[in-house]
């Protein structure tokens, strides 16, 4: 038999649904989004006695109303997909809060199995649970499990296999019961509603649930009599409480009753372990200390140590590049075949991204630990006050940490981590401000400019730069939430503090690998695609023909010089013609790349030996030797290679200048003039949209000089910029722009994924550009007018930002007074 069983896992947050899901399905999982919402849909499979069982992990929810996207998604799944059985995961140590959801599931008329998770925790608390009595009260199978220890999985699978339609217990709504029954009878008469449980729909209509009303309107031709009746029944309820309140109360009372009869607390009045830990971790004075220590530890372990780890993994990526370089058509003397340049460009783009994989693995593992242990919820609790002032949410902390609050992070996982923020408005504000943080890739440009213009005040400037981004993010968030986002849905900050748990190694590793893979898949593909576009924009239309001829002539002179130098040298036999010469140059280049990548003396010797074996005729040119003729040959090749590098660099610069992107860069000069950006910087900034790292690389190409072999980019750029009358003030303007610069492409894609909207994606590009340009132009223009030095200008900007922050953050007594009066009157 190949019939598939569909099983849905439903339960509250922190009930251990995910661990149970992993326990059931093992490695066969698939993560996607529910259509139209950013709620994750996890599904997995297992086979049981030749029967395949599909398990869908529904989002965690407390009840099945239509108030939050999670609950709407869970409910829609249960209604539309009609799973064969729902496994309701309950936290055995807190049954009373979990049972109301069970009642709602039962009411929907779907076969339910209760998986009583965390039996060990309940035992530790001294709770004795009478499983038989619980089964009898609920009229459904109750399976005790300990998801974290992998206990009870088989029993649960067996129960799923045996599950069939049962007549579940119905909840008596007391005073509301007549109303429920009346509506139920009305609904049961509608043939179009046969698929739904009439009692469930009746209760939902009494609760004034918008989705239930919509469902009715869609299915029934004339829903008005029923809707009217429901409205009247609602209005007839005496007292202040709404029907929804009464229904919730009835559920809670029944839960309390069941807990009272099925559970014996042997250690009542005992203070739970988590609370005892919280007395330290959430202590007014100790909490900030622990928080800072945690954030520091995350930063140290993931960013600093992860960066160290990339030094180990980089040679692997460089090796891949060398292999690709070997496989692609050989380079020409001046112009490479298009396919070679494009291939290497793609490998380079991918490598830039893959280089961060070690950092992400560590980062995601640490975050999984924070989440699983339960400390993440506490961070939100500690910081909510500050963040809420700026329209953000306690849970915005994590995205900001990931994106690099202190300099060094990545906005992509930062934007990804906004998923858990329940408040829609705060979530959007977080997504749009997270890219302001200083990601790892912004650092090289800062370092470059600081080394050129602020060699003495490097530390202070770095401090300014790393904190001003936080100030900017908070201010922008306040601005957005009070203007553009003010009409977006918010959610109350009401959340449960989960118990502390020791995270399991398996769970942490799995989450870390899953998320990293998701990052590679989602971002990698798009970045490679866009890399092609940027490549085309940089390559075409190419160097003008007349200049190309000039370059060719210079190349031929260089080659002629090479043969002159080798006149009479026995090694000349190895390079009888142009083709052989290009071979030699390529062998030389590959050899140098391999030597650079080789770790240790032995590896280097092996490379030497291989060259001598594979290209014996070229060995004298490339390898070190004591023979005079060989030395001469090597020197001639070195000169030629140097000349070739210079020519190629000049051509590349020429190509960029005449490329489409170069034209755009020049075209933007009238606008960027006020911030003192010339076309070269414009091009670098435009190119850095694909990946921030490339800004420095592009500048490296653009600020090259003919004899610039031994000069660092700092010196070259400093000299060139100095000659053009640029000062530290220009550097400040550039750095401020870069700090506020739109998110890189990968982040923008993530913004699209997380907001489900191209509009917000566009906004996330346009708004920071305008803001950055405005700030940079203002600073440069005002700074020039007032004759400020770079450091003075930066300090002024910083203090202005800080002042604005304080003005927004501090309580405003003059705005509070009118609102206070009625409160004072009302209170006795």
């Amino acid at each position: 038999m190949s019939e598939t069983r569909l099983v849905a896992l439903a339960g509250q947050q922190n009930a251990g649904k995910s661990t149970l899901f992993n326990l059931l399905t093992g490695l066969t999982q698939h993560i996607a989004n529910y259509p139209g919402v950013t709620v994750e849909k996890k599904s997995g499979w297992y086979s049981d006695g030749g029967r395949s069982v599909e398990v869908v992990d529904l989002p965690g929810c407390y009840s099945l109303t239509s108030y939050s996207p999670e609950e709407r998604v869970a409910r829609a799944f249960l209604l539309d997909e009609a799973p064969d059985v729902v496994v309701n995961v309950l936290d055995a140590s807190n049954l009373r809060r979990g049972l109301p959801l069970t009642f709602q599931l039962l009411e929907m008329g779907i076969p339910v199995i209760v998986a009583l998770n965390m039996m060990d925790v309940a035992e530790g608390r001294g709770l004795q649970i009478d499983l038989a009595a619980l089964e009898k009260r609920l009229c459904v199978p109750v399976i005790p499990v300990v998801g974290r220890k992998g206990q009870g999985g088989d029993a649960l699978r067996r129960a799923i296999a045996e599950a069939r339609d049962t007549r579940p217990a119905t909840l008596n709504y007391g005073a509301l019961e007549p109303a429920v029954q009346e509506l139920q009878a009305l609904l049961a008469d509608q043939p179009a509603l046969k698929v739904y449980s009439a009692r469930w729909l009746a209760v939902k209509l009494l609760e004034d649930d918008s989705e239930a009303a919509r469902l009715l309107s869609e299915r029934v031709e004339n829903p008005h009599p029923i809707l009217d009746r429901a409205h009247r029944l609602r209005a007839a309820i005496p007292g202040e409480d709404t029907a929804a309140d009464k229904i919730a109360t009835a559920r809670d009372m029944l839960a309390a009753d069941i807990v009272g009869t099925c559970i014996t607390a042997t250690r009542a009045g005992h203070v739970p372990m988590s609370e005892r830990i919280d007395r330290f971790l959430l202590n007014r004075w100790l909490a900030p200390v622990f928080l800072v220590a945690t954030i520091w530890a995350i930063y140290q372990l993931s960013i600093v140590q992860g960066y160290e780890l990339t030094k180990v993994t980089w040679p692997i990526l460089a090796g891949i590049r060398n292999i690709a370089a070997g496989l692609l058509p050989d380079a020409g003397f001046l112009v490479d075949p298009q396919i070679r340049s494009l291939g290497l460009w793609l490998v380079d783009s991918a490598n830039t991204l893959l280089n961060y994989v070690p950092i992400f693995l560590i980062l995601f593992a640490l975050i999984a630990i924070l989440e699983d242990s339960g400390y993440m919820a506490r961070i939100a609790f500690i910081l909510d006050r500050i963040l809420n002032r700026f329209g953000l949410h306690g849970q915005s902390t994590l995205p900001f940490i990931l994106a690099g609050v202190f300099a060094g992070g990545c906005a992509v996982p930062g934007v990804m981590a906004t998923k858990g923020i329940p408040d829609h408005r705060a979530r959007l504000a977080t997504i749009l401000t997270v890219p302001f943080m200083n990601c790892l890739a912004k650092i090289p440009l800062y370092t470059l400019l600081l080394n050129i213009y602020f060699p003495e005040a490097k530390g202070l400037m770095l401090f300014y730069l790393s904190t001003i981004t936080v100030i900017a993010a908070l201010l922008v968030s306040k601005l957005l939430t009070t203007t553009l986002l003010s009409r977006h849905e918010t959610a109350p900050f009401v959340m449960e503090l989960p118990n502390y748990h020791l995270p399991t190694v398996k769970g942490v590793l799995r989450r870390s690998v899953d998320r990293t893979w998701l990052y590679i898949k989602k971002v990698g593909t798009v970045v490679v695609a866009i890399a092609v576009v940027i490549y085309v924009l940089l390559q075409f239309p190419g160097v003008p023909a007349d200049r190309e001829v000039a370059y060719q002539a210079r190349a031929e002179t260089a080659i002629a010089r090479f043969y002159d130098a080798l006149d009479g040298n026995p090694n000349t036999a190895a390079v009888p013609d142009q083709a052989a010469l290009i071979d030699l140059i390529n062998v030389h280049t590959a050899y140098k790349a391999a030597r650079l990548n080789a770790g240790g003396r032995d590896a280097a010797m092996a490379i030497d030996a291989r060259l001598a074996e594979e290209h014996p005729q070229f060995a004298p040119f490339v390898l070190r030797s004591r023979v005079a003729a060989d030395k001469e040959a090597a020197a001639a090749l070195r000169d030629l290679a140097g000349e070739r590098t210079t020519l190629r660099r000049e051509m590349r610069e020429d190509k960029i200048e005449s490329s489409f992107l170069g034209m755009v860069g020049r075209g933007l000069e009238p606008v960027t003039r006020f911030a003192d950006f010339d076309w070269k910087i414009n091009v670098a900034l435009l190119a850095s949209f694909a990946a921030r790292e490339s800004s420095v690389a592009t500048l490296g190409v653009l600020f090259d000089q003919e004899d610039g072999q031994n000069q660092t980019l700092e010196d070259r750029m400093g000299a060139a910029q100095g000659a053009e009358g640029r000062t530290a003030l220009s550097a400040v303007a550039l750095m401020l722009f870069f700090a506020l610069y739109p998110p890189c492409l990968a982040t923008v894609i993530m913004v699209r994924v997380q907001t489900e909207s191209y509009l917000w994606m566009g906004f996330s590009i346009v708004f920071p550009t305008i803001l950055g340009l405005a700030v940079a132009s203002t600073v440069f223009s005002l700074g020039s007018a007032l004759n400020l030095t770079g450091l003075q200008a930066m300090t002024a900007v910083y203090l202005a930002g800080l002042a604005a922050l304080l003005i927004v953050a501090l309580p405003k007594p003059w705005m509070r007074l009118p609102a206070r009066a009625p409160v004072a009157e009302d209170s006795p």
Partner: protein, 118 residues
């Protein structure tokens, strides 16, 4: 500081923002007779005024929509007793103990819960 300050948070500028958000969600639902509660202030003491360590019985919930539903889901409903466990280091939000659950909520929300001390 004190209650006047936080009282404002519940009913002043930010409270209005919340109302706008709800308005969007509630479109097409009809006003419902619970609407009066959305704008009402607690007549007696609110949970916001309870000091850490005190236990109170909940009398009424003000507010409506998602806030109210979430509170009910978490067991914060009339007649139940809650204990204020602690304030956050910056005084807001506060942590409550309801049965075996520990729940945190902002003072803005706590101000909408009418309680009596026991």
């Amino acid at each position: 500081m004190g209650r006047g300050f936080f009282g404002h948070k519940g009913w002043g500028k930010q409270g209005r923002g919340l109302g706008l958000g709800l308005g969007r969600r509630r479109r097409g639902q009809g006003a419902g007779h619970g609407a009066a509660l959305c704008t009402a202030c607690p007549i007696g003491n609110s949970l916001n005024e309870a000091a850490p360590g005190t236990t109170c019985r909940i009398l009424r919930l003000m507010g409506c929509g998602p806030v109210r539903q979430r509170l009910l889901d978490l067991g914060i409903r009339p007649c139940r007793e809650v204990t204020v466990v602690r304030n956050a280091p910056l005084n807001d939000p506060i942590e409550l103990r309801v049965g075996d659950s520990f729940i945190v909520l902002r003072r803005r929300e706590a101000a909408q819960i009418e309680v009596e001390h026991v």
